[in-house]
Assembly symmetry: C2
Homo-oligomer: 253 residues x 2
């Protein structure tokens, strides 16, 4: 039981090596159009997309995204932003006082922006393009705001690098579906259940290599002590919350 759309979703791979082949303008326009058909709260479309193609600007973005080389290699970077700025101007221009300078509105606009990004990702892949998400967007939102000249009430939430793949990686592992789905109410995990959910991931060659490379006891320690550490998470949480205040989505910390 399948269809082409489902195949596009099931065949998703994150691409980390790109050819320098440009993406034709019609394809860029087409994936954007498909992106903007995504659902949006009250059909307000409180998001914006900033496209970076210029080599100088890509280099600056590359710095902000922890020098991940895909940003330099691929022809296009799309930054998806929660954006109430446009909506607010419209309201004011129509004699309506907007009330969107708060956390709920930030979440609403963020959800809108992420739904669009995933439609764009799927549309791009349907054309044979490769994509990678940059989670570093929320880490350095403040510097990205400066670089892209984002006004108040606009915050970058996620970023897609898009281009023609120069690699053909295998599908990456996923936890068993049954470990992530709950019926009716959340069924808490027993220790045995946790062991089962992570068993395949922990037994993989990739994990084995990572443990060797990092000289740690296991994969969980690699996540907690190398990749996504408490110290980094706390530092970037504070930074992001300050950005919410600065961009007008929170009164104070």
């Amino acid at each position: 039981m399948s269809n082409q759309t489902l195949e596009t979703l099931l065949q998703h791979r994150t691409i980390r090596k790109y050819s320098d082949k440009e993406i034709p303008k019609e394809i860029v326009d087409s994936i954007i159009e498909a992106g903007f058909r995504a659902s949006t709260t009250g059909n307000m479309q409180v998001y914006s997309v900033v496209i970076t193609q210029d080599a100088e600007n890509k280099k600056k973005l590359w710095e902000l995204h922890f020098k991940q080389n895909m940003v330099l290699e691929a022809p296009m970077v799309m930054t998806f932003c929660a954006d109430f700025h446009r909506f607010n101007i419209w309201c004011k221009q129509r004699n309506a006082e907007p009330g969107y300078d708060n956390f709920l509105s930030f979440m609403t606009a963020s959800i809108d922006a992420i739904l669009v990004s995933q439609n764009v990702a799927v549309a791009a892949e349907s054309y044979g393009l490769g994509i990678v998400y940059l989670g570093t967007t929320t880490y350095n939102a403040d510097e990205i705001i400066e670089l892209l000249k984002l006004p108040e009430h606009v915050i970058p939430i996620t970023t897609l690098v898009i281009g023609y793949p120069a690699e053909s990686p295998p599908l990456t592992d996923r936890l068993p579906d049954s470990g992530l789905v709950h019926y009716e109410t959340y069924e808490d995990y027993t220790p045995q259940c946790i062991d089962e959910i992570y068993a395949e991931k922990e037994a993989s060659q990739l994990t084995h290599d990572l443990i060797e490379e990092n000289q740690l006891e296991n994969l969980a320690q690699i996540f907690a002590y190398k990749r996504y550490t408490k110290k980094d998470n706390e530092y970037f949480s504070e930074k992001l919350l300050k950005t919410l205040v600065k961009q007008g989505f929170m009164k104070s910390l």
Copy 2:
């Protein structure tokens, strides 16, 4: 220039009337599998999905989602949650101290959950199912947490109602793509530009009917004074932030 995947995306309509036809188990499993192929930060998969099919539970959810009838009518409701709970247990069980009790981790997990939800939406539509997102999820996250028995470090972010459509609505309007895309840097909007972006939306029959019905000057006032008011947004912002504290993603307000 098109393909079937792109057609699925372009033909998206929000469905608000559903038949009571059940969704075959194989299709539910298939759209979940497609959902979980979505990109995820560091392949951590820090999300969970809670499926509600039981009539009693749907009724309780319906109350929490402002009595939107789709929740009662459609056979399935899927609540997508940011979830660091499972990951935290795994870390602790592996002698790794997790550092995910902060705002950045909440955002990371929320983004993961929303990417999955959009893949599920697209997969469902590829099978001829209809979907509607419930933005009310972030409004009543605390009550939903109680109903679905979500533990600490789990917060519902968005909800999809899924079922077979009992209506065939036209495509809804979208703002012109050019008004939402910026090249290289954000180009601020002139008053004329705002007028142009909203012109088609404001001129529509739907808008005309809404203004008549609401007895207000224009569409912007309907958004700001009826649908998404400052008072509601501030009330639900405070409520949601308290939920972040309660669920262990923020130290205090």
